[in-house]
Every structure is written in structure tokens, then in C-alpha cells.
């Protein structure tokens, strides 16, 4: 491991890579700070600039954009109360009140340093856990992969703000889009409707950018008055970041920092659950664990620390799943996956073993990007204040043209631009009609993987029972089944008695496949799950299955 790590350090430690990462982080910070400009858009726009670079240089640049974007949202959130990205929604709860009480420098400092420490914890665990998860991934057969994709899609749909049916329809539409064109297994054209260009199918990056970025820009300029107004209401001004006081406060609340980073990391590991969810979850847990929960929302440092530590740590978790299993953790990592494929890097369980230097370079670049992020915050804060004077319609028109140039440059194919337009219209219509886009994006990205693994599974054996007799497949199918009922559980929590049995039942059900796997650690995990399930059921039985109405007021998970 250490020789690979040293080789990765040697590959990254050049002026060129550092310069590229500096530029990438600055671009990400600004993109994250501007409401309406998403991190995914920034990564896509950066992609064409990396074509002439080596894989390591290109990926380091894009990771810098990713990390910068995650931290950029706190600037607008704290200074104006409008989060730059959904990842920073909870930051505004306490960051903005702090700024209004005359402590904007401290609030920004807390956000920056919590992001930094959260990111570092996540980077360390990424380096430790990704190879371990990849080793587990090597145990997966096609049945298990198929079930994992199914789980990724159901959880993406179930986290769509209680719109499970719409989420599932969106996910299935995404898979249908992915099935258009020549199929990867037999090379037979499907759904080309006599159009030559459709024989090759849709390239997934133009589809992603159309669905996500194009539709987002259209939503941002829909309101004529908002489109003509400056990006931010007057009031945003550069301020001096109070680094020392912020570091002291952040480290003093190390329990909150660590808990929030771990929440972020494990939310990121879950397929389809991103930083827009983790920052709210971490904030909620920090409030519950606090001795002064009433201070939350009034400008308490713990609120800013929880949200920012969690959202940066989520990136590490999403990278673990993407690097080890090839499954994107959220929309941004779906775009990152496309970027990796363009650089001839195909993440899979065998990737870390086969290309260890590149893998460790990615881990290290993620780690390093956090140092650049801290260093650049003060400079980018001034640039951000200047950019807030730009009107939204100017930004949207120019970004739209840049998206077109960037998308054309991917394959030098004009049809990709038509794809961008078609899916821009589809994405906008879906948003207006209340359909979540994240499941559709995952459907587009994972549809081919699901089909390929189903075909492989059936080629090995036509026995469908293998999907429920293989432990990992069963494990993911159980998770998929429980995730389907999650929106109902969320809606009824604190009101219906059956919700008390949801978590214990899931623990008991998951213990089954873990016991089937054998091995000391998994047996211990299974016993732990059985113990928890029985204890929780017993506790509820002793309480006469009384529901706690306070649970109904807990925040719900929503797609960002």
C-alpha cells in the first residue's frame, strides 16, 4: 500500500498538478457559491479542459472542482441566507443568524474549517475503506450486482421527498432511455425508429447535463423579475475570515465534528443519497445531542460545524462506492463517473488492485483539495461578492452556450447537442410536473449495468432463485424492499404503531443474509443486528407500542 501511496504522491507533486488543482478549487468554490450554478454543472464544464491532460492531472482537477463546489455553498448561505447549493441548506440555519449578529467572519471560518476537517476525516476513511469495500465487491456475482442496482434505484426513488411512484417512474424512464440504441450484449439496434443517429443511442453525459443543468438553468430564469435581478440581494460583502477562533471552536466540539463527518461519510456510501441529505441529517443529530438544543437556529457554532463537516465528508463516502463498486453515490458522482470513463478509468472492484497508483492518486487529490479550499476561500469570497452583481439571465445564457461547447467537445458529434436540447426539455417538464430527476439520472447511468448483469446471471444459470439464495443479492433485495416502504414509514412515523417495528424488522431481516455469508466479522454483525432487533422490539412491547409524537416532527429527507 505504502509504495503505491508514494508513487501517487510523486505523480501528484508537480507544479502543473498543483496549479490545475488551484484553478479547479477556485472554479468549484465560485460555482458552489452561486445559487443556480450546481457542482455537477461545474464538473461537466471542466471536463473538456482536461482532455489534453493525463488521467491523474485531469481527475485531480475535477476532484478539486468537486471539493471546492461543496465548500462554496457556505459563502452565500452565511452572507445572504440563500444556500449556494442544496449541500449547504442547514449551514444557513445558524450561519446566517451569526452573520446578522455581527459575526460573519467567525461563521465563515467555522464553515471553512468544519468543511476542512470533515473532508480530511472522510479522505482518511476513503483511503482505508475503499480497498476493503473493493475486496468485498470482488465477491459479487452478476446476481448481486443486479440486486445492488435495484437497491440504488429504489432508494433514489424513496428519498425523493415522499414521491415514491413518481421517483420509480423517473428511474424506469431513465432505464428506458439507456436501452435506446445498440445493445451492449448482442449489438442489435433498439428503438431507433428509423433514425440513424439513434442507432448508437444517447451518450449519457449530454443526457445528464440536459436533464440536470439545462433544466436547472431554465428554472432559474423562469421568473422574469428574478431573471433580471442581480444574483443576490444587496448585502453580501467580503469580510475577514476569523481562522484562529474558528479552528479553536471547531476542534473544541470534536464530538460533533466526528459524528457529523461519519454521518456524511455513510450517507455518501449509500447509493443515491448525497450531501443535500447529509447536511440536514447531521444538523438534526447535532441538535438532538446538544445540551442546548434551543440555541440551534439562533446562531450556534455547532449547527454550522455539523452541516459543513457532513457535506464535505459525503464526497468521500460517494467516492468509496464509486471507486470500489462503480456505482455513483449521487448526481455529482454520476457525472464524475462519466468523466472517469472519458479518461479511460472504469471504476470496479478490481480497479484499485489493477491501477493502485491511479486509485491512490485520486484519494490523495481529494485530500489535497481540502488544503487548497482553505487557502482559496478568502480570495474567492471577494470574487464571489463581485459575481453577485451579475444578473441571472446573463449567467444563464452564457452557461447554456458553454454547456453546448463542452458537450460538443466530448465526442465531436452534433447529435450530442440535440440530445442536450431534448433532455433539457424533458428535464424541465419533469421538474415542473413534480418528478424527481435524481432517480432518472441513476436509471440512465445504471440501466446498462443492470441489463448486462441480468444477462450474465441468466447465461450462467437460468435459475431465478439464485437472486434470493445468494447472500449479497438477498441483502440488497431486502434493503430495496425496505427502501420502498421508507416514504410510508417517514410519513407515518410518530403516528402509526407499525412504524415502531420498521427498523427492528429491517435489522432482523438483514441478519439473515449476513449469517449466510459466514466469516467472523459478518457473523458478529449479524448477531449485533439480531440483538438490536430483539432489544428494540422488546422495548416497544414493554412500552405498550406507544408512539412518540415528537418523532413526527423530525426533518424529512428531500432530494436536493
Amino acid at each position: 500500500m505504502f509504495e503505491h501511496l508514494l508513487a501517487a504522491v510523486a505523480a501528484l507533486a508537480t507544479f502543473k498538478v498543483f496549479g490545475l488543482m488551484l484553478l479547479g478549487t477556485a472554479a468549484g468554490l465560485l460555482a458552489g457559491a452561486i445559487p443556480g450554478f450546481t457542482i455537477a454543472m461545474a464538473v461537466v464544464l471542466t471536463l473538456p479542459f482536461t482532455f489534453g491532460l493525463s488521467s491523474i492531472e485531469g481527475l485531480a482537477t475535477m476532484l478539486a472542482v468537486y471539493v471546492g463546489g461543496l465548500s462554496g455553498g457556505l459563502m452565500s448561505g452565511i452572507l445572504t441566507g440563500i444556500p449556494g447549493t442544496p449541500s449547504s441548506v442547514a449551514t444557513t440555519f445558524d450561519g446566517f443568524p451569526m452573520a446578522r449578529r455581527g459575526k460573519p467572519g467567525l461563521a465563515l471560518g467555522l464553515g471553512v474549517w468544519a468543511s476542512f476537517f470533515g473532508g480530511l476525516i472522510s479522505a482518511a476513511l476513503l483511503t482505508a475503506l475503499a480497498p476493503a469495500l473493493a475486496r468485498i465487491g470482488l465477491e459479487f456475482g452478476p446476481w448481486d450486482y443486479f440486486a445492488l442496482v435495484l437497491f440504488a434505484l429504489t432508494i433514489a426513488a424513496s428519498l425523493s421527498g415522499g414521491q415514491l411512484v413518481k421517483g420509480l417512474i423517473a428511474g424506469l424512464l431513465g432505464m428506458l432511455v439507456a436501452s435506446i440504441g445498440e445493445d451492449d450484449i448482442n449489438g442489435v439496434a433498439r428503438f431507433d425508429f428509423g433514425v440513424d443517429a439513434l442507432r448508437q443511442g444517447f451518450d449519457f453525459l449530454p443526457v445528464l447535463v440536459g436533464l440536470f443543468a439545462f433544466s436547472q438553468l431554465m428554472s432559474d430564469i423562469r421568473d422574469a423579475a428574478k431573471a433580471q435581478a442581480p444574483l443576490m440581494p444587496p448585502g453580501a460583502k467580503a469580510t475577514r475570515i476569523e481562522h484562529r477562533a474558528a479552528i479553536r471552536l471547531t476542534l473544541a466540539g470534536y464530538g460533533n465534528l466526528l459524528r457529523s463527518a461519519l454521518i456524511g461519510l455513510f450517507t455518501g456510501i449509500l447509493p443515491a443519497a448525497g450531501s443535500s441529505i447529509s447536511n440536514i441529517l447531521a444538523y438534526d443529530q447535532a441538535k438532538k445531542a446538544s445540551k442546548t438544543p434551543e440555541a440551534f437556529g439562533q446562531g450556534t457554532p455547532a449547527g454550522v460545524i455539523a452541516s459543513e463537516a457532513a457535506n464535505n465528508a459525503t464526497a468521500g463516502g460517494a467516492l468509496i462506492t464509486m471507486m470500489a463498486l462503480g456505482i455513483p453515490g449521487d448526481v455529482i458522482t454520476a457525472v464524475m463517473l462519466g468523466a472517469l470513463l472519458i479518461h479511460d478509468v472504469a471504476p470496479s472492484p478490481s480497479f484499485i488492485g489493477e491501477q493502485p497508483v491511479l486509485a491512490y492518486a485520486i484519494f490523495l487529490a481529494f485530500f489535497l483539495a481540502h488544503f487548497f479550499m482553505v487557502g482559496l476561500q478568502a480570495i474567492c469570497l471577494r470574487a464571489f461578492v463581485l459575481i453577485t452583481r451579475v444578473r441571472m439571465y446573463v449567467l444563464a445564457s452564457v452557461i447554456l452556450a458553454y454547456c453546448a461547447i463542452g458537450i460538443f467537445a466530448l465526442n465531436n458529434v452534433t447529435f450530442d447537442l440535440w440530445t442536450l436540447l431534448i433532455f433539457g426539455v424533458v428535464g424541465y417538464a419533469m421538474k415542473e410536473l413534480g418528478f424527481p430527476l435524481a432517480p432518472m439520472i441513476l436509471g440512465v447511468v445504471l440501466g446498462g449495468t443492470a441489463e448486462l448483469n441480468l444477462a450474465r446471471a441468466l447465461a450462467i444459470s437460468e435459475d431465478p432463485m439464485l437472486f434470493v439464495t445468494r447472500p449479497w443479492s438477498l441483502f440488497f433485495l431486502i434493503l430495496a424492499a425496505f427502501s420502498v416502504f421508507f416514504p410510508l414509514y417517514q410519513a407515518r412515523r410518530g403516528r402509526s404503531r407499525w412504524t415502531l417495528a420498521y427498523a427492528p424488522a429491517m435489522a432482523l431481516a438483514l441478519a439473515g443474509p449476513l449469517l449466510m455469508m459466514g466469516g467472523g466479522v459478518r457473523m458478529a454483525a449479524a448477531i449485533g443486528l439480531v440483538g438490536y432487533g430483539l432489544w428494540a422490539l422488546g422495548r416497544h412491547a414493554r412500552n405498550g407500542w406507544a408512539v412518540d409524537p415528537a418523532a413526527a416532527t423530525a426533518p424529512t429527507l428531500r432530494e436536493g
Binding site: 424506469l172 433498439r190 447554456l400 467537445a409
Partner: protein
Amino acid sequence: MRLGRDRVLALGLLALCGGFWAASYDIRDLGFQTLGSAVWPRIILAALTTMCLIYLATGGRGAPVAAADSEAAGRAGAAAGWARRYRNPAICFGLFFLFLASLPYLGMLIGGTLFVFLALTCLGGHSPRALAAHAAIAAATIGGMWAIFTFALRVFLPPGVILPSF
């Protein structure tokens, strides 16, 4: 059963499923595959149809289209309100369509600059001062990006037939 917006949408999606299901019979069957090329799309379509039927059955909570329409007809300028609501996105989609349709003739540099200029002018107004600002923004942003791609990154961007170098 009231015909709400969600139900109209569900019916549209069911029609889409039907169209794709019919098109799946045009997929060539090679005869020797374990999983035929048409099987996977049909699995997706079957699941999608099921979900759309559930959506159709449960989607009646919104305001019914007929009622909404009659209400809308009662309000003066409701159609104008709808047009105002979607004016900006419609302009952008329309201009982007024209940009793509004219790309073989105008090329990326001229077409892109024209697209940005027209989008800015349609969305931001057309006073003489605004026109000058929009022209400068369009030329600087697209010209700059075109130059970076063409000369620094050596990425080919499509030229037009009118001015073949751009």
C-alpha cells in the same frame, strides 16, 4: 373518476409505454441469446406500465383539468399568464433549437455568439445600452471560449459554411 393533471400525465405515459412496447417487436431476435435484445426493454416497460397504472389510480388529488380549465377560462388573461410564466424557458429552448439548426451554416463561433446575444436581448431587454452590453458579453464570452478550445486545447469546434474558418 376526475381527470386531474396527474391522471392526464399518467395516460400520456401509458401511451408512451404502448408505443415503445409496439416498437419492441421491431427489435431483431437473433435466436441464440439467453436474454433476447427485446427482453430487457420489455421488463422495463412492464414495470413502467405498472407504475403508471398506480399513478393513474392514485393521481386524482390535484385539481381536475376540466375544472381548472373552466376556472382558467373565467379569469381574464389566464392564457397570457401561462405564456408569461413559461416565456423565458420557451425563448431559450426556441433559440437553442435555432442555434442547433443553423450550426452547419453559421458554425460554433458565429452561431454561439448570435445565440448568446439573442438570448440576452430577449431575456434582458433591448435598449441601445443593453444591446451594446449584450453584444460585448456575447462576443467576449463565446469568442474567448472558442479561442481557448481552438488554440489552447486544440479541440475541433464545428465551422460553418458561411465563414469556413469559424
